[in-house]
């Protein structure tokens, strides 16, 4: 499956990104990467914030490729899976990210508190890794959208 296949199946829509959009998504990701270190916040929240940081980075990569998830589709799942097709994330990384998606859903709707500090840390380090990967990838794959590059 490629992103093109997903588009044909109606999972994605085409999207025209801009440097401004990428700058904004990176800014949210960076803000959340900082906020998830807030001491005194419960592990559950820190994990959710780090998860959002990673999701925004993944969304930026997908936007740069010219797509966004279709409405009503399992939005988060799709964005996470797309990392394999954008930055070339390996299976383990995608799977780990997706497990945190499930954990976050559970903690939001069913089982509040079932998140350890260590798990919040694991999500943070995953988010940092992904944010870094998307930042580097965009420089080479879409230099015209990369924040900080002179306007093409």
């Amino acid at each position: 499956m490629t992103l093109e296949d997903w588009l044909r199946s109606g999972f994605l829509r085409t999207h025209c990104s801009s440097r401004q959009e990428i700058v904004e998504l990176f800014a949210i990701s960076d803000r959340d990467l900082a906020n998830c270190r807030t001491t005194g916040l419960d592990a559950e929240w820190r994990m959710a914030i780090a998860y959002n940081a990673a999701l925004q980075a993944a969304t930026a990569a997908l936007a740069a490729e010219g797509y966004r998830p279709a409405r009503g589709e399992s939005h988060h799942w799709r964005v996470i899976q797309s990392l394999a097709h954008t930055v070339g994330a390996d299976g383990d990384t995608v799977e780990q990210f997706d497990r945190f998606r499930k954990k976050r859903n559970l903690s939001a709707y069913e089982r509040s508190g079932a998140v350890s500090d260590q798990e919040a840390e694991e999500m943070r380090s995953l988010a940092e890794r992904l944010r870094e990967a998307v930042g580097q990838w965009i420089q080479t794959a879409h230099p015209e959208l990369a924040p900080g590059n002179a306007k093409a």
């Binding site: 383990d92 780990q96 954990k103 079932a114 350890s116 260590q118 694991e122």
Partner: protein
């Protein structure tokens, strides 16, 4: 669960909590239907699952997905060795209120990471037809939160558990250790 093993009547009685008489009757019925085979060794009679029985795959699946759940999960955690100090199932699967689609809630105390535990049990989800939701605490954090009376842990520690690794006593020891968490 263990088709390669044969079991003596009293063994089965001990493991299942069934009365010997009832058990003997049930087993002879199963043997007649060729669902189990019997062998004699001296004056002992052994019973063993019969993998050649056409119903075997379905029966094994039924057991795996219901009463055998804990055994399947334990086998998946064993390779993590002493990096799992204690592990148990809590929630509906432990309190026997599980519905068809109920998830399996798993709590692990040990030095293994969430990623490791999730990878170990992840592949079972399809076989069991259930989602497995692990929560992993390093011993230091478990001790601290147990002593602080962290709401989630307090609730889980009081509720019914189905132990996979270790037992109630190990868990209590992990939650009450007197020396500082750094020493763990």
């Amino acid at each position: 669960m263990h088709p390669d093993q044969r079991w003596y009547l009293r063994d089965i009685a001990r493991r299942t909590g069934c009365a010997l008489g009832n058990l003997r009757r049930e087993l002879s019925g199963l043997a007649e239907a060729e669902i189990v085979t019997t062998t004699r060794d001296g004056n002992r009679r052994y019973y063993q699952a019969n993998p050649a029985c056409p119903l075997f795959p379905e029966l094994a699946g039924l057991i795996r997905k219901t009463v055998g759940l804990a055994e399947v999960l334990r086998d998946a955690l064993v390779p993590l060795g002493d990096r799992v100090a204690a592990a148990f199932i809590y929630g509906s699967q432990a309190s026997q209120e599980a519905k068809a689609a109920s998830d399996v809630d798993l709590l692990v105390v040990g030095t293994a990471t969430f990623a490791e535990v999730a990878s170990a049990v992840g592949p079972l989800q399809e076989r069991l037809g259930r989602e497995i939701n692990p929560t992993v605490y390093p011993p230091g954090e478990f001790l601290r939160k147990a002593q602080e009376g962290h709401h989630f842990l307090r609730t889980v520690l009081k509720a019914r558990k189905l132990f996979l690794i270790g037992g109630e006593r190990d868990l209590r020891r992990l939650a009450e250790k007197r020396f500082p968490p750094d020493a763990l």
